[in-house]
Symmetry: C3
Subunit: 282 residues, 3 copies
């Protein structure tokens, strides 16, 4: 786990293009347990991308469904008692079957119910953790978190916390922000595509977690690492955001255009447009 | 119930035009118990059409509300414990009051909680059952169902299962697909309008179930059969989908355009554009 | 509380412009407990406006979150058992901390579970009550309410009920309709901007309640009254609706355009376009 392998920008964008092509050729079934605010948008993002979403968030079904899914998202945005139980059941099913899974610890820190659940889920070693800087700091136990869903800390301020979480899980950690930071125990990437309008649409971050679960499902088939899957998801999603922003008259038309753009992003576009910076893990 | 009455294409489209006109003149109150992914889209589809949606999915209210509603939809997409109880209460109220109701057995088969509920609801004889081929096969007990919400079987492969369900309920059964198959104990219809973009928007099928509940409410007033109500719903919805697809740049703008188009579909357009094939029940 | 202070149209629009400027400069954190149909749209409306939404609707978190929020919305559209408990917890936290809160008594009257909860919440004296005429009449105990979410009564028919509720709570009451009536114990306002397309989009009214909670959060900082905050919310929201309607091809593009327009409404536009009529409380 501690080998320090440098990853080139070229290999990151090449892997992203290959994963997108594979994803479209064989749509991953993405099991989503997510918050009630973003369910529809998340499903539409996955459908636009070319994946197949399914929301199965009740006990008695979540575990077996995670086992047959390509990837699982557990987002803690509005964790009802039923969803909390279903999340643990789903992760249990995912671990038994080897289904990769994403933890999105929305608003952890100040809010105790989800914070306790997030710690339980962290101990189960998510394949990828995705959050904003405040959430990553809070999940790592460094701070008390932001207020609600807003990040009050810079991405770089959360870099050590992200590295710590990667060491504890053995997986990848993605810190969303103006530039996204992605780390695992070997490498670090900074991805600088995207648009600020993503912060003016509800689910702008949450849906990215679902896209990561989709790419993890594809990566599991091709043998790409969780870090490369999370990077591919981020690149495709933020490039689509740039296309949508270029045509948007505001946040409403941006959200609509993001779905159109996601369905139109082609593997061949990624290399020329990706803004990637790589390094070894600190 | 076993008389074999042939229904002409002309009578189907004429009935659809008349029902749409009646629906707009006196908006049906449509009681929806549906999954958390599509609630907003479903309500917007009904509003665009000219109906009046209401989501009442808690016990203590669902039964009495079903009794005063024009039509009821029970969609099993994300059946929380509270929704499961509310669904049974609502159907009880609907049966007592004579409110027609639609069962949409989302993802039945492999998932045991909803499958058990779907069987309980099937025994209460829904006025219309709407699903994709895999769901219809699974509900009829012929197969184990698809994976999640995707149909893995062709519409025609589910024809016998649909006929069987129609015989068991005395109602109509609609199998969604590239061409929709609608059957009751007397007749069969194939409706071939629509666009593949409907499968790239979450709730593309679920909202059709709500539109059927709306038309059932109107049909109850005019005396049209459940099969004709389900056909009218399918025609209006799929014609609007064609209009939206013609203007869409992708799945995002298609979903927006579908709402615009639904509000603009006129009774007079149906006859010239409908692609209907009729026959007697096999 | 009984002093009769006349409020001029000029002071209403001036206050609205000032509050919008303050809101954009320091985004209020708006705690929403709302129905499952409109969560996404409500959050997008708040983000487009420039506020920061957060949905925290579980017990164990709702109370403490209301205490740190700028404003709270409690909307009774789909009140699950968990949401009912969380609503009471949230209002408790809001009252302790002085957080202003909005009650939106969706479909109260005929439906007993929400009606009982609405009466419990009414006794806790909401800062603002927002509803359509049928809901206001039902909440005041004058009538049995409408059917579902539709208003069957005219705004003016609910004027006495609104005045009665204002006296009982000491807060403001807003009756939505073709012209909105806003009252507190001192003043009355009629605001006539808006567009009928707002009634063809789900959450058209519910999201206005959230916008009121946002402006209440800002007003708390500036010292403006709840009536002026609710008026500012109504003006900004209905002016944006007019802009969106002017560009819409139907209810789908209207909803998208409303978000775009909300993000573009400028304080300086309000005075010239607002249609305000003021008077003393009857």
């Amino acid at each position: 786990m501690n080998a320090r392998l440098e990853l080139s920008s070229e290999s990151v964008v090449e892997s992203a293009a290959g994963l997108l092509e594979e994803l479209r050729a064989e749509p991953p079934l993405v099991h989503c347990i997510t918050n009630s605010v973003v369910t529809g948008f998340t499903a539409n993002v996955l459908l636009a991308l070319g994946a197949s979403p399914a929301m199965v968030d009740i006990t008695g079904e979540a575990g077996m469904f995670a086992a047959i899914s390509s990837g699982l998202l557990v987002n803690l945005g509005t964790p009802t008692p039923e969803q909390r139980s279903a999340s643990l059941e789903a992760v249990g099913g995912a671990r038994t079957a080897g289904t990769p899974w994403v933890l999105d610890p929305v608003a952890v820190g100040a809010l105790p119910v989800r914070t306790a659940l997030a710690q339980d889920l962290l101990a189960l070693r998510p394949t990828v953790i995705r959050g904003n800087a405040s959430e990553i700091l809070a999940l790592a136990g460094v701070s008390q978190g932001g207020r609600g869903v807003d990040a009050l800390d810079s991405t770089e301020a959360a870099a050590d916390a992200a590295r710590d979480l990667a060491r504890r899980t053995g997986g990848a950690v993605a810190v969303s922000g103006p530039a996204d930071l992605l780390v695992d125990t070997d490498c670090e990437l900074r991805l600088a595509n995207g648009d600020a309008l993503l912060t003016r649409v509800t689910g702008g971050g949450c849906a990215l977690g679902a896209v990561m679960a989709a790419f993890l499902g594809t990566a599991r088939r091709t043998g790409a690492s969780p870090l490369l899957a999370a990077s591919a998801a981020t690149l495709v999603y933020t490039l689509a955001a740039e296309d949508a922003a270029a045509r948007a008259a505001g946040p409403g038309s941006f959200a609509v255009g993001l779905l159109d753009a996601l369905s139109a992003v082609e593997p061949g576009q990624i290399a020329a447009r990706a803004r990637v910076e790589t390094g070894v893990a600190a």
